[in-house]
Structures are given as C-alpha cells and as structure tokens.
Symmetry: C2
Subunit: 110 residues, 2 copies
C-alpha cells in the first residue's frame, strides 16, 4: 500500500454527472469498520423511512447544515464540525440537509 494523497478532496463538492443525486463513496472498509463520504444536496430521507442499523455509527458533518430526526421524537441539528454517535438499533432519518451538506460516517461493524 502506498502513502500517496488519496484522490478527491472531502470538503469539495464533486462535479458528478448525476447532479443533485445524493452520493455515497466508501473511503475504506475492513471486517471491522466502514468509512463513508456522503454528499447531500438538500436531500431528506423519504417520509416514514427510518434507518435501523446493526452497527453503531459515528457521524461528522464536514460542511453545510443538517437535521437528524429520531424515532423517539428527538431532533438534532448539526452545523459543519458537529458530530455524534448513533447507537445501533436507534431508528433515525435525515430530516433535512442544506444544499451543500457533506458528511463523514464511520460504521463500527463489531
């Protein structure tokens, strides 16, 4: 494995042909963790859709603003630099994001 700079700056929006689509990119993955880079463009989860995961997830908002909604009624508003852990089985959805929201998500598989 080399130590060269990885392609893609994580704070810049990509010029992807699928403009407006939410983009998911796995930065690294092992049997124990997955690190994901997510670019949102004002997306919210579909109404009544809830993430219900087997894995603890650590989330950092790198850019923009976003609000996460939890099944217990809680809302957590994030601005760039804010982070939190969403424990496994805690149902949540993306309530809203700004047009320029960029996330880093670390999934702890075990």
């Amino acid at each position: 494995m080399k130590y060269e700079l990885s392609p893609g700056n994580l704070l810049q929006k990509s010029e992807d042909p699928r403009a407006g689509a939410e983009l998911f990119h796995t930065l690294l993955e092992s049997p124990y963790v997955k690190l994901e880079h997510i670019i949102s463009h004002g997306q919210a989860s579909p109404p009544d859709f809830w993430y219900d995961q087997d894995e603890d997830e650590w989330v950092l908002l790198l850019r923009g603003e976003a609000t996460l909604e939890f099944a217990d009624g809680g809302m957590v508003r994030l601005t760039a630099g804010d982070h939190l852990t969403v424990p496994k089985r805690v149902r949540h959805r993306v309530h809203r994001t700004s047009e320029d929201a960029i996330w880093l998500a670390l999934f702890l598989k075990v």
Copy 2:
C-alpha cells in the same frame, strides 16, 4: 448510549489554557479502531523523530495546511479536505503545519 450531539465542534479551535500546545483528543475507541482529533498550532515533529506505527492510519486534514514527510524522502502536502492512508510501518513525521491545522486520524488496530 444516547444519540445526543457530542460536545465540541471539530472544525473550531478550542480555547484551551495550554495555548499553543498540540492537542490530542480520542473521539472513540474500540478493540479495532481509534478515532482521534488533533489540533496543531504550527507544530512539526521533532527533528529526526519518525512515527513508526503498528497500525494503518487514515488521516484527514479538516482545516489549515500541513506537510507530511516520509522516510523514503517523499513529501505530501495537504490542504483542508485532503486525506490519505499511511500504512503501518511506513515511517513518517509532520514536516510542518499551519497555525490553524486540525486533523482527524483513524487508526485501524487490526
């Protein structure tokens, strides 16, 4: 475990009494990974000091500018948003950082 916003915004410099010191803060740790937040203030590694780690390390520069130096003579310059993986046993040091450099480092223990 709760899902509340974690304390501390990772893009903002802390007002730490140890002004000017390099600050290391473990955000999460499991038997498999450690995630660390590092605030630098123009620090470099001591001359002739080399990190020589048992673990692959993924590094993201969240803010500022920095240059990593490798024992094979390579230099990698990073600006905010740049990231790379430093494989285990690849000797490296911090050649320089800007006054406002903030890092995220993910260590893969296995």
